[in-house]
């Protein structure tokens, strides 16, 4: 019974990727023993937390059969505006920072959802457009000047440094589990709950399966779409605040922080086993896919490689994972004598 469940797990894409993650970790550890330290993994969690949070939102969009490329812009705008507001009002309160950011995230998300539903725009096109609009709104109303560490409100800096617990290393430095872990876990569980335990969550999956069927089944697709994009907006806002707190710095226009990661995150989810065309994907798949990509991103120095290798690895795994998934699927369906698509 139990071994059967394990077998089933490893026959899914998530299982494969987990294996690759483990093997890759062993390789890196073999090349550079410094890799296998608790501090290292705690740090990976910390620096990846906002990737994961963005990933949860993207998961919903992909499940619904859409592609959103504007969520990174939402993350930057909401995080940056939140930082500006706090800087200028002096209300140094973390809850307030999140409140402002999430509010903006929700609104930007609502704009996406509205456009996509009412104008029947392909999601990719719509969000390509709104992506620049969001940045434009921010630039026009708030500005784009970088906020350096010295000028960043203390709430962000303190939030970035806060830890749940710390472990000292032999060199005297101490590593710890960042508080980012708390929103990460909460949002992970929330996303899971929404997807598997609520009607609105199922409507997202249904929409991704077949829009026609979802409509005919009686789902209110306006509600579904608004929910998806507002949820993504809110998650992006949280991720934005966390990312700014992490690096303690923000340059909304020039930085590659968050910005430019939109396709990486989508690719990571697909590597994990989320279906690009919608309808299939799990929270675990998004976590594991992003974990692998983050490992590639953060271990090059351990391996002594230059940064172009990261793209190479990600691309390789992306193609391999897609091929394996579709081959597997084809084989299974062939066994069942189904030859569609």
């Amino acid at each position: 019974m139990k071994s059967n469940a394990i077998k089933k797990f490893f026959s899914k894409t998530e299982g494969y990727i987990l294996l690759i993650v483990i093997v890759y970790c062993i390789i890196v550890a073999a090349v550079n023993p410094n890799f296998m330290t608790p501090g290292n993994f705690l740090d990976l969690i910390r620096s990846s937390s906002w990737y994961w949070i963005l990933g949860f939102g993207v998961l919903l969009v992909l499940l619904s059969g859409g592609i959103d490329v504007s969520y990174t812009a939402i993350a930057i705008c909401s995080g940056y505006v939140s930082a500006c507001v706090i800087q200028r009002t002096g209300i140094e309160n973390l809850a307030f920072a999140f409140f402002i950011a999430i509010l903006i995230g929700l609104w930007f998300g609502a704009i996406n959802g509205f456009l996509i539903h009412y104008f029947r725009l392909p999601t990719l096109i719509a969000t390509l457009g709104t992506k620049t609009i969001f940045i434009g709104i921010m630039a026009a109303l708030v500005g784009v000047e970088a906020i350096n560490t010295d000028h960043l409100p203390a709430v962000f800096k303190d939030f970035g440094l806060a830890k749940l617990f710390t472990v000292p290393t032999e060199t005297g430095a101490e590593y710890g589990l960042s508080v980012f872990f708390i929103p990460l876990v909460i949002l992970g569980i929330l996303t899971w709950f929404i997807l598997y335990r609520t009607q609105i969550g199922r409507s997202v999956v249904a929409l991704g399966n077949s829009e026609v069927s979802a409509e005919r089944a009686g789902y209110n697709l306006f509600k579904t779409r608004m929910f998806i994009y507002m949820y993504v907006g809110a998650l992006a806002a949280v991720a934005g605040v966390i990312a700014i707190s992490d690096v303690a710095w923000i340059a909304p226009l020039s930085s590659t922080m968050i910005r430019g990661t939109e396709l990486t995150i989508i690719a990571a989810l697909i590597i994990g086993g989320v279906k690009l065309t919608g309808g299939e994907g799990t929270v675990f798949a998004s976590i594991i896919g992003l974990l692998l990509v983050r490992l590639f991103e953060t271990t090059l120095i351990f391996l002594g490689l230059t940064s172009s290798w990261q793209n190479f690895f990600t691309g390789l795994v992306f193609v391999a994972s897609l091929s394996v998934t579709s081959l597997q699927r084809a084989r299974k369906r062939r066994r069942m004598l189904l030859f569609e698509e």
Partner: protein, 367 residues
């Protein structure tokens, strides 16, 4: 349903309030410096008409339009440089000088912008190149179009552009950085080094100077990376790289940071993990590293004033436009401390404006 509506309206109001708040709250002194650059094309016309309305003087029937193209928009360093350019603009009535940079430090975008300004027909183009060699063709094109070109921090373009303005001798600057690091490390241990990019000539000269100095004078100090890490002048990348450096080399003792971003990221990480083993010697701006310099996480921060650099570069272009001859082998005054007696040699105008930031002096600078 009704409650929902009220809630929605409420949220709308809050949102408007947020934007209103941030928009009005924009610090007054930043606004003027920003305006010319951001809305630059629209602003030109009235500015150019101005002299015509005023009583004509011998000179002011010609107004010089000078554009400064920095590496990227939205970085504190170049925001400060923008202030220097604006200051120059205010000091000279017959000049319309402004700064406009690409979004993201990208050589191709810079080249495209230069093309645009050639087409627009400005009088002079100043540029802080991301990749000097990549700009050679457009700079030549600008010269052919009769436009004065002055480069800042790009010696590869010396001789092709009218002048290259350097605030100090890069190699020497690097040697100072290396020396300070070696001293802070007590002459032994391992250190890592970082630049913005391998194509960034200035950074590479600093790096060369720093590593050379250490190799020559501190035989017990070992460099862990033969090729410097690259952060593209981007804090997010720099932060990731520094994190990895610390993880991959837990026994590290020193860090030579040729970008502000890497220096400040490293200091922040050291502070975060309470790691006192690593000494940082880096390029610095007070707004990014002031806190760390005062708290001791940064052993040595050195740099120059971007305000003065911007000012001096535009000043050089202005002098050429005015027809003042700058002669090889002589000296020239570009109007700012450390730049008042610059050496002119092989197409390069070199000042000596290095600033070493110390816990005592760092608060005086507002960039």
């Amino acid at each position: 349903m009704n409650k929902k509506k009220i809630f929605a309206v409420l949220m709308c109001l809050v949102l408007v309030a947020v934007f209103a708040l941030t928009a009005c709250g924009t610090p007054a002194e930043e606004t003027p410096s920003e305006t010319p650059a951001q809305e630059e094309p629209a602003q030109e016309t009235p500015a150019q008409e101005e002299p015509a309305e005023e009583a004509p003087t011998a000179e002011s029937d010609e107004q010089f339009e000078i554009v400064m193209i920095a590496k990227t928009e939205g970085l504190a360093w170049f925001d400060a440089m923008k202030r220097g350019v604006a200051e120059f603009n205010d000091d000279f009535a017959d000049v319309n000088a402004y700064q406009h940079s690409p979004e993201g430090a990208d050589a191709a975008k810079q080249a495209a912008m230069i093309e645009d300004y050639i087409a627009k027909g400005v009088d002079a183009i100043c540029c802080v190149p991301n990749d000097p060699k990549a700009l050679i063709p457009v700079v030549q094109k600008a010269k052919e179009a009769g436009i004065v070109v002055v480069i800042h921090e790009g010696e590869d373009l010396a001789g092709i552009a009218d002048w290259d303005v350097e605030v100090f001798d890069n190699y020497e600057f690097g040697r100072v950085m290396g020396q300070k690091l070696g001293e802070a490390m007590g002459g032994k241990g391992k250190y890592a080094a970082n630049v913005g990019g391998l194509t960034m000539q200035t950074h590479m000269q600093w790096w060369q100077g720093g590593t050379d100095y250490i190799k020559e004078n501190f035989p017990d100090i070992e460099l862990v990376n033969e090729q410097p890490y690259e952060d593209q002048d981007d804090a997010a990348i720099a932060y990731d790289i520094c994190k990895e450096i610390l993880r991959a080399h837990p026994d590290l003792n020193g860090f030579l940071g040729c970008t502000v971003e890497s220096g400040s990221s490293m200091c922040r990480l050291l502070k975060e993990t309470n790691n006192k083993n690593v000494k940082v010697s880096c390029l610095a701006v007070p707004s990014a590293l002031g806190e760390y310099i005062k708290e001791g996480w940064c052993a040595n921060g050195q740099g120059n004033s971007p305000i003065d650099a911007g000012y001096a570069t535009v000043m050089c272009a202005y002098k050429v436009l005015k027809g003042e001859t700058i002669e090889e082998g002589s000296t020239v005054d570009l109007g700012k401390p450390g730049m008042d007696n610059c050496n002119v040699k092989d197409g390069v105008i070199k000042g000596d404006a290095t600033i070493i930031f110390t816990p005592e002096n760092v608060d005086q600078y507002d960039f």
